[in-house]
């Protein structure tokens, strides 16, 4: 049946896109297939994927986190001043703590105050970015110690350290989300919060913890990012938010929550990195980037909807009015 073919196509759409992009760029540019460029792409994907995992967790619970880019900037800027003074452990710790706190505040304002996740995290986006500007006062901090620089730009056995870090993070998060009670409760909360709460799960706690983890992930990526750049300033990380939404949705985690997951997002992050990397190689202005990313998000919504329509084709959905006579 034709609709079955389309269903299959939709199911594996992201793999087709991945293959298409990969082969397309290989043909278009001789640089693309070099080991150097491949490693570079994976290292970039490493940073994006770790932020996107956080975004995925938020979207799985039926929310979103628009503050990740700014929290990343704030935590790494403050950490940078400690790092610069030679206190590596202290710098890393303070960065992580700030990220965690920002995330927890998001979680609390969503659950305890009742703000919509969009508004709560958009507000945090403003405040964290503003504080980063105030803290840096328009300056840059650059030139970190070699030990710290290894985290984001070092290599081990010819492979960037970032790739090992991403691998560890991916394995941990896949295990936690698919194999533990906590993971099950994340999905249950996202698919129906009320029913999950009425099964005795403290859904507020789940949501607060998710946003706190997001803050932590933002801080981790922020530290790796400044380690890779060897510099920190208040403007860094602005593209991460939109990119990570795109990576999550194109990876196959629907915006409606309760489905998808971290493993899918890994594919999404690679797709997004290939896209931006390919655009650079082809010499397309970086100003196009957000437009492409935005269209990827809207395209994902179309795929999601088509998939849903096909699986529910038999029954036209009227409204959610129950059938009581």
């Amino acid at each position: 049946m034709a609709s079955n073919n389309i269903k299959l196509l939709i199911k594996y759409a992201r793999f087709f896109i991945l293959i298409l992009l990969f082969s397309g760029f290989s043909l278009l540019s001789p640089h693309f297939l070099t080991f150097q460029n491949q490693m570079n792409i994976l290292a970039q994907a490493a940073l994006l994927s770790m932020v996107s995992y956080g975004m995925t967790l938020a979207i799985v619970t039926g929310g979103i986190d628009l503050s990740m880019g700014s929290v990343l900037a704030l935590s790494s800027c403050i950490a940078a001043s400690f790092l610069k003074s030679g206190n590596i452990i202290g710098g890393i710790l303070i960065g992580l703590i700030i990220g965690f706190l920002c995330g927890s505040i998001n979680g609390l304002s969503i659950t305890k105050i009742g703000l919509s996740p969009f508004i709560a995290t958009y507000g945090m986006d403003w405040v964290a970015r503003g504080l980063a500007y105030v803290y840096m006062g328009g300056t840059q901090i650059y030139g970190f110690s070699a030990v710290f620089r290894f985290l984001g730009s070092g290599q081990f056995l010819g492979v960037p350290a970032l790739i090992y870090e991403m691998a560890i993070m991916t394995i941990v998060l896949v295990f936690v989300t698919y194999k533990t009670i906590y993971g099950r409760n994340i999905y249950a909360t996202g698919s129906n919060k009320t029913a999950t709460r009425l099964s005795g799960v403290n859904t507020d706690k789940i949501i607060i913890s998710i946003y706190s983890i997001n803050g932590l992930l933002s801080a981790i990526v922020g530290l790796l990012y400044i380690s890779r750049l060897n510099a920190a300033e208040a403007v860094i990380g602005t593209d991460f938010t939109l990119n990570s939404i795109a990576a999550t949705l194109i990876g196959g985690t629907p915006f409606s929550g309760g489905e998808g997951g971290v493993a899918q997002t890994f594919i999404g992050a690679v797709i997004m990195t290939l896209l931006t990397n390919g655009m650079n190689i082809l010499g397309i202005s970086s100003y196009w980037q957000n437009a492409v990313v935005g269209f990827v998000i809207l395209f994902s919504l179309f795929i999601e909807k088509t998939g849903k329509v096909l699986s529910e084709k038999r029954f036209e959905s009227v409204s959610k009015t129950s059938i009581n006579a």
């Binding site: 979103i64 628009l66 304002s109 105050i113 009742g114 703000l115 919509s116 969009f118 508004i119 958009y122 507000g123 945090m124 403003w126 405040v127 503003g130 504080l131 500007y133 105030v134 006062g137 328009g138 939109l242 939404i245 915006f255 202005s285 100003y287 196009w288 980037q289 957000n290 437009a291 492409v292 990313v293 935005g294 269209f295 998000i297 809207l298 919504l301 179309f302 909807k305 409204s319 009015t321």
Partner: protein, 321 residues
């Protein structure tokens, strides 16, 4: 029997806000010498005019129970589109008209995806915010479109009958929108769809069309705001409008239109936008650096949103639902 309530319900919330307005004015008048001067008031009104128009764009979508995060980007894009056309020798009035049309088309894009495709309004307008911002950067190649001639500057900087044109434009739009929302079937339907899409459907209202049209209107208003902004500052930056969506949300909420939609309205938003403009003006007079201003305003707005949401919650409890 209930106490018979008079017809002035829609203005019920306004006195509270007016009090807030008064309070803000008093504080700044006492603490800064320059604040309470005619010059500064005209300055505030001019500053506020753009925010007022942008906030109306936001209010209409919030009345529907939705939102439009792309307002700031639409302002940027329409500003540079108009600016570039003027610089390429297009007559000013045609350029302005086409700029507004661009705003309408962008609103149509949002509206189509939200109403006829049924996509989530947050994600749609947040994505289009990125897309539109990106387009503004692409067509200007990241550069600001520089100064204009006097005929275009008349919109944002001129005066007519001794009043700034920009203030007259904002006033005209206010009157039109008050009429549209309170006296026409379209306006009534916007409130109804915001109150409950299902009940509106049951009453035979074409809710999709209402949502679609509202976003177009929102796009048009954002477009006007963007063009006037370009005229006022005598340049069109591709990021000129960014952040306006945030101030506009705050103005709408302060003005008594909650996120749930279905109540509140234009008059409240007018006052809400004035309050925000005065706050910004005051902080500026205190001599804070732009980053600190930016952060403080962010804090204040977040605080306002939190208070508003808590207040709604409290009221909902009082009504026993």
């Amino acid at each position: 029997m209930v106490n018979l309530i008079n017809s002035k319900n829609k203005f019920k919330k306004v006195p509270g806000i007016l009090f807030g307005l008064l309070a803000v004015v008093c504080i700044f008048s006492i603490t800064t010498p320059y604040f309470f001067t005619l010059n500064n008031f005209i300055n505030i009104l001019e500053q506020a005019s753009i925010l007022v128009i942008a906030s109306f764009a936001m209010t209409l979508t919030i009345l529907l129970g939705k939102i439009d995060m792309s307002i700031g980007s639409i302002m940027s894009l329409t500003g540079v589109v108009t600016g570039l056309m003027i610089h390429n020798g297009m007559p000013v009035w045609i350029s302005v008209f086409l700029g507004v049309v661009a705003g309408a088309l962008l609103g149509m894009f949002n509206g189509y995806l939200i109403s006829y495709q049924g996509f989530d309004f947050w994600i749609v307008t947040f994505s289009s915010m990125g897309i539109i911002q990106s387009l503004a950067l692409v067509i200007t190649n990241g550069a600001t479109v520089p100064g204009f001639g006097n005929d275009f500057r008349f919109l944002g900087d001129g005066s007519l009958f001794g009043l700034p044109v920009i203030v007259l434009i904002a006033s005209g739009i206010t009157i039109l929108l008050v009429f549209l929302t309170l006296r026409t079937t379209f306006g009534s339907n916007v409130y109804s769809v915001g109150g409950s899409e299902q009940i509106s459907k049951y009453a035979g209202i074409n809710t999709e069309a209402i949502v679609f049209k509202t976003y177009i209107l929102s796009g048009i208003l954002a477009g006007i705001a963007g063009i006037v902004l370009a005229s006022k500052v005598n340049s069109a930056s591709p990021i000129a409008g960014s952040g306006y969506e945030f101030d506009a949300i705050a103005a709408t909420l302060i003005g008594g239109t909650p996120f749930e939609g279905g109540r509140g309205g234009i008059v409240g938003t007018l006052i809400g936008a004035l309050i925000i403009a005065i706050l910004m003006n005051g902080l500026n007079l205190y001599g804070f650096t732009p980053p600190i201003q930016f952060t403080l305003i962010g804090f204040i707005i977040v605080l306002i949103i939190i208070i508003d949401v808590l207040n709604e919650k409290y009221k909902a409890k009082k009504w026993g639902k």
